[in-house]
């Protein structure tokens, strides 16, 4: 603040004061208003671009209005309560925790100045995080259905909250979420305890054979329920299709396709295991009747997974290689069709190994790019004239169609969007 002199008493004891939201320079000695409404930047009140605040907000901050909560935050806190009620979170402590997390996340720079879609997702995200912190077996898909959001938007907000607020969340195990997924799917039949145990065991089998790793839980659980349901009354249900079994209008055809894919993978695994049962004839088991062997497979699951002969002695010693081969016979689906590479070195020889001669000086010269290549990237004067004519024609066309419309001075300099293929085609035509 530059030294000022009071015009009335000549004193230099001038201080800054707020009259409501208006800044005034006041002489302490005589009380005269020396200056008001200054537009000079004060270093103590320079905000970063993302922290720009309104005058009412400034006033509240300076007068220590800590308890003030804006309308948007109140609406968000209310939404947190509603989502908690829908998830039947009866613990008030958890609801308060979710609200506090919401208010903290709301102030994050990346979330504060963002589009409405992300802000609408924020309360659901906070409730999910608090539920997971208390080890609730809840899946993200439950929140997607509740708050009707896209998974990409949810993921972006979720990632920001975890990284910026340093929160560690572990995903639930697939076995924990089986009941909530079944409830969410709302099947038109009841499952008894025995069937639930079978479903849990097959889900564990899917986990051990790499089917569930890195994948969404819902399609796998629905696929297992389908197989168990089919096995419970095979004669009547052997021809039931997956879309008729699982009808969820909101999920769409993508989920049905995923369920079908998981059913195929599970059937392949079950066929592989059932084929190793000694009393099963080769070729007896196929995709249609494999569900009938589920009880046998689960009874001898450990032995079948290990690949050992059921009637062999434990004293048989296997080499390390054989043991590894047995354990690796079930691979993640993404690894099954992989082409074997003979030499590690073959993978290393890529374009990054090509030697390149490059200059390190700050001055540019003709050595940086040869003339033979340069002319590919620079238009001739004739081409420039043609482009200018096209641009003028487009502008005149826009003016005649919309005479009142403001002339767009920032129009693209390209008649059409250029792609890499266009650059390559140019080279071909010039070489011809």
């Amino acid at each position: 603040m530059s030294a000022k002199v009071c015009t009335q008493c000549g004193g230099q004891n001038i201080q800054q004061d707020l009259h409501f939201c208006l800044e005034q320079q006041i002489c302490i000695d005589c009380g005269c208003v020396v200056e008001e409404g200054s537009f000079q930047n004060d270093a103590s009140r320079i905000y970063a671009p993302h922290q720009s605040i309104t005058l009412p907000q400034q006033y509240r901050q300076r007068n220590n209005f800590h308890g003030y909560v804006s309308k948007a935050r109140k609406a968000g806190a209310k939404k947190v309560e509603e989502i908690s009620a829908m998830l039947r979170v009866t613990s008030q402590a958890m609801v308060d925790e979710a609200k506090a997390l919401y208010l903290r996340a709301y102030d994050l720079p990346t979330l504060n100045r963002t589009r409405r879609e992300k802000k609408n997702v924020l309360p659901g995200c906070c409730v999910y995080i608090v539920c997971r912190q208390h080890d609730w077996p809840i899946t993200v898909s439950v929140l997607w259905d509740l708050i009707q959001c896209r998974d990409s938007v949810f993921y972006s907000v979720y990632k920001v909250i975890l990284t910026d607020l340093n929160i560690i969340i572990t995903a639930p195990d697939i076995e924990e979420v089986i009941p909530s997924v079944i409830k969410k799917c709302d099947f038109n039949f009841q499952l008894d305890d025995e069937q639930m145990k079978t479903i849990t065991r097959i889900v564990c089998l899917a986990k051990n054979t790499w089917i569930s790793c890195g994948r969404r839980y819902d399609p796998i659980i629905i696929a297992v329920v389908f197989l168990v349901w089919k096995a419970s009354d095979y004669a009547k249900r052997k021809k039931t299709s997956i879309p008729s079994f699982y009808r969820q209008k909101k999920s769409g055809p993508q989920v049905v396709a995923l369920v079908r894919s998981r059913v195929n993978e599970l059937e392949d695994i079950l066929i592989k295991l059932a084929s190793e049962i000694p009393w099963v004839q080769p070729g007896e088991v196929n995709k249609q009747n494999v569900v009938c062997y589920i009880s046998d497979i689960l009874q001898y699951e450990k032995t079948l997974l290990d690949g050992k002969d059921i009637f062999s002695d434990d004293s048989d010693v296997e080499s390390e290689e054989e043991e590894r081969e047995q354990k690796d016979k079930f691979l993640p689906p993404g690894m099954k069709n992989r082409k074997p590479t003979s030499d590690v070195r073959d993978d290393n020889e890529t374009s990054s190994d090509i030697s390149v001669q490059v200059s390190y000086s700050t001055e540019l010269g003709e050595n940086d790019i040869p003339d033979s290549e340069m002319h590919k990237y620079i238009r001739t004067s004739q081409e420039v004239k043609m482009v200018e004519e096209v641009m003028k024609r487009d502008e005149n066309k826009i003016e005649t169609e919309n005479p009142g419309k403001r002339k767009d001075s920032s129009s693209s300099c390209n008649p059409h969007k250029r792609k890499r293929s266009d650059v390559e085609n140019l080279d071909k035509t010039e070489s011809d």
């Binding site: 259905d145 409830k183 290549e373 620079i378 390559e424």
Partner: protein
């Protein structure tokens, strides 16, 4: 514990919302209620308690200054590694708060020489950012994983040192796009090296898509020369590599659930949101995307040695999660 998601003592007839239903729709309570969540302890971590106490909240480990990476003299072509390096490395791994990922010791080999001073004749299996005009042939390490991550993308920036008229550049250059309504920069592409550049009116430029440091520099020089040819007094100032991305394949499946349990402070695994595990290594400061198929993507490096070092650090950990639990 703190509340159950589904309460069986809800009186019949009281309407309760169900999943997949909006706020206004009310449905009767379901007969089938899952059991309440276990009132057991939260998910246990297998990290030793002493290390847990020493370490702050996730991903914010303060690097131990005794293990600061000293300047190493690399000479391309050297293949043998000093055995003392591996012994020193195993000692450093056992120190808590060393900045490396915890829970692992006795790393078999690896191109690290943290304890050596800058004057020592340290050897490395991986060539450093090479001197100008040298061929790039990374040597396969004699010990360690035997796998070399390949660089897939390099992002670099350079200052051309003058203000630019983007409309003029877009008009006179064949390989340029400029749509200021969408983005305030010219997007230019060249064939060799196959890269893309963003050229801003301030004279700053970003070059992406190169597979090596030299290719990135060469591409940036080509773009700058094109701009100079269009009539601007462009120079080549403050070239800097901002990010390097590498990838490799360990060729065995990885148990991501086990990895996230033992390294929860560094890992994030949400299979419903993303199929891979995101591992934020503290030293070197690299982010790894680890997939169940064994593919690993490493990003966030400023020099290629960081990528190699990060992979050599993570490889023994991944081998530990190869078998079924």
């Amino acid at each position: 514990m703190d509340g159950t998601p589904f309460r069986q003592d809800q009186p019949q007839g009281q309407v309760q919302p169900q999943f997949g239903v909006t706020y206004t729709t009310q449905l009767p309570p379901s007969q089938f209620l899952p059991p309440p969540p276990p009132a057991s302890e939260p998910m246990l971590q297998t990290m030793p308690t002493s290390e847990l106490q020493n370490q702050p909240v996730s991903g914010t480990l303060v690097p131990d200054m005794t293990t600061v990476r000293t300047q190493m003299h690399y000479q391309p072509g050297q293949q043998q590694q000093d055995k003392a390096n591996s012994q020193n490395k195993s000692q450093e791994h056992s120190q808590p708060g060393s900045g490396l990922t915890p829970g692992f010791s006795n790393t078999p080999g690896g191109p690290h020489s943290h304890s050596h001073s800058s004057s020592g004749a340290t050897s490395s299996l991986y060539p450093a950012t090479p001197a100008p005009m040298t061929p790039m042939t990374p040597a396969t390490p004699a010990e360690g994983s035997g796998i070399v991550p390949q660089l897939q993308n390099i992002v670099s920036t350079v200052n051309l040192g003058c203000k630019l008229d983007l409309k003029k550049i877009a008009l006179h250059a064949r390989n340029a796009e400029y749509n200021p309504k969408r983005f305030a920069a010219v997007i230019m592409r060249i064939r060799d090296p196959r890269t893309t550049a963003l050229i801003f009116s301030s004279g700053k430029m970003v070059c992406t898509g190169a597979k090596s440091e030299d290719q990135s520099r060469l591409a940036a020089r080509k773009y700058a020369r094109v701009v100079q040819k269009l009539g601007f007094p462009a120079k080549f100032l403050d070239f800097k590599i901002q990010n390097m991305v590498g990838s490799c394949d360990v060729k065995f499946p990885i148990r991501l659930e086990g990895l996230v349990l033992t390294h929860s402070q560094f890992s994030s695994y949400e299979p419903e949101l993303f199929p891979g595990l995101i591992y934020r290594m503290v030293k070197p400061r690299i982010v790894l995307l680890i997939f169940v198929s064994g593919k690993v993507v490493l990003t966030g490096a400023k020099v290629r040695e960081e990528i190699y070092e990060a992979f050599e650090t993570i490889y023994p950990i991944l081998k530990g999660f190869r078998k079924t639990s």
